[in-house]
Symmetry: C2
Subunit: 378 residues, 2 copies
């Protein structure tokens, strides 16, 4: 498997991004990802009880259909807490994009990110669609990956290429997300594209496993978004022999897991105001979920995160974080090891001695810059 | 009922505080609270799975005995994650204090606050005890209330005086806690003294109710401490007719609830780095716990807290906080009302329209000053 730190779209995919007038800043704010043939789509979404209109819309679409041809994404407005008009706006955005692409209705999924609680102006999207569609091309991913960003400093992108039955298969992914990142599903949008020939059930299973060990293991500020969406499109164009749960599956899973993990780490590295990248591994737990719970107990502790920012080896905050996570622990058997806090990359290892399972989560420190960004964002 | 924003010890109580050499800063770090006759003690403690040695020690004492005569408290060292030596140190501190006061063993409870993971030097406490005991007096509460502080800017103190069967009864309380404050039991130490003649079961019940609507409804940083302790001593010296669950109970409950609530609010007002005092009320929930859960979903959101700091009316973060709390909500029926963010006191009201119960929680904003304090604290 070869990994590239850049997005190279697989066979049959094109993309584009432009400025449609949604963001005040004048930065790119509308992206389109397109497959020339219908593609299976697997999706995972926020578990926040308040869900943005596009999330509700997409979940309904994915229940009815297995294949789609495009995803249209705007940044600058989350289209969340916008009531019935918000839902109609998401549906309208989808059908306008379908028309512009010359497709039947329900061929286009929708995602939004940005401010919560503001009504969308779909007119701006309608006006921009002809130009957006006309510019679709392989290299358009470079504009699209920028058009999905909000407070991110850099785009997040990655490509894996690997062989299945002698044929090259590509998985390419782009993501946004710099704050409001917490389990489950970091506050983020992530779009993954593959040309693999694969069954829908294998695609679903691979995505579920990959997300649980990547995006569901990162936290920036413990805040769960209303818009988290991850969509994996497989257009089956690579000419490989079919991947199914019990056939050619391992290499696909490995590549997808790697893509998701690298991208999740990139989200944390670009976290709002972050000056440190922190890897926390909890060993010796009775299950993966318990290990992850303990690790998040540390990762979501503001006191731990400020101590790392201050390069202040206050280990008590680690043990307090483990204890507050709610898992059963025995103080006498806990061991903690922390790398030097002087470096940008910090690792924390905790041994619970309560079982045989581990989990690793990734987080950033809490800095005055995080506060500056979020005090001003609106 | 008369409320005084100062600690006036009830009949039969004395206190003292001094510098024993535990804190590097040279500030007062050892306090003693004493009742001249054995007093019923009700206690509530942290629910963190990691508990400091004095918490474990006190819980064991309170299981065995109903009456105690003193509490000895040190600041500067939490005596937590200190293993079996830590427990022996807590027990030794108790027995040394008992001896110094001329009492039988097991008459003195212990509390500690400060850095986690450092061994205690009980020698310093032993050396300071004669002077600590010699200086016990009514006005010694003014030194004691300072000796329990860590990062607090000001002492927290309050007194309620009210009549039971024509006799004046006093409830007086002091507390510490400025960060690491979260449910359950704000990270804090709180000592409450009353001269009321009251049964142990009435004392327990009154404390439980008062704490659930005060200390368990505040949060500063969502971090739950290992040392949270609240102890209520009743020495029955006021000469009132007996208070029991079904007798003279209401006025005692009212006064105790008021004392706890005022003190809890003082903790939030003095929160580390806070520039705002935020009151969040959730109405229309199916139960108090659900209402509180929704309110804490907002109160513990770093994004909400930075928005308030920035006086940035980003209401989306309120709705995202409610949704991430995990309670069932219906977006269509939620209403939100926020007072002007320009003032020091900010109120947030949320109507869920899912039931008839309300809960109010109190929190502060998240500021660069919070980070500075906690990056440096060690």
């Amino acid at each position: 498997m070869n990994i590239y730190k850049k997005a190279y779209l697989p066979l049959g995919f094109t993309a584009n991004g432009l400025y449609a007038g949604i963001k005040k800043s004048g930065k790119l704010d509308l992206a389109l990802f397109y497959s020339s043939v219908p593609a299976f789509v697997s999706g995972m979404f926020t578990t926040n009880k308040i869900q943005a209109a596009p999330v509700i819309f997409d979940k309904a679409c994915l229940k009815k259909e297995k294949r789609f041809q495009a995803v249209i994404v705007n940044s600058g407005n989350a289209n969340c807490f916008t009531g019935e008009k918000g839902y109609r706006d998401a549906a309208l955005t989808s059908s306008l994009a379908s028309s512009a692409l010359g497709l039947k209705g329900n061929s286009v999924l929708v995602a939004s990110t940005g401010i919560i609680g503001r009504k969308m102006d779909v007119g701006k999207i309608k006006k921009a669609l002809p130009q957006l569609v006309a510019g679709l091309c392989r290299s358009g991913i470079d504009k699209a990956k920028k058009a999905i960003l909000t407070t991110d400093i850099v785009p997040k992108e990655i490509t894996a290429k690997f062989k299945v039955s002698g044929k090259e298969v590509t998985i390419c992914a782009v993501a946004k997300g710099a704050g409001m990142i917490a389990p489950n599903m970091a506050t983020m949008l992530c779009f993954i594209f593959t040309d693999a020939l694969i069954t829908k059930r294998a695609l679903d299973q691979a995505l579920f496993k990959a997300v649980w060990h990547s995006f569901n293991c990162i936290t920036v500020d413990g805040c769960m978004s209303t818009n988290d969406s991850i969509m994996l499109m497989a257009n089956c164009s690579a000419g490989n022999s079919l991947i199914d749960i019990n056939k050619n599956f391992a290499s696909f899973q490995e590549a997808l897991s790697r893509v998701c993990l690298e991208l999740a780490k990139l989200l944390v590295r670009d976290a709002e105001g972050a000056s440190k990248f922190i890897t926390i591994t909890v060993h010796g737990a009775p299950s993966f979920l318990k290990a992850r719970q303990a690790a998040f107990g540390i990762a979501n502790s503001n006191l731990f995160k400020t101590a790392v920012y201050g390069e202040n080896p206050n280990y008590g905050r680690i043990i307090a974080g483990v204890g507050s996570s709610g898992i059963d622990v025995d103080e006498k058997h806990i061991k903690i090891k922390v790398s030097s806090l002087k470096k940008r990359d910090v690792t924390v290892k905790v041994w619970l001695n309560k079982g045989k399972t581990s989990a690793t989560v990734y987080t950033s420190d809490l800095t005055p810059e995080y506060i500056r960004i979020n005090a001003e964002y609106n």
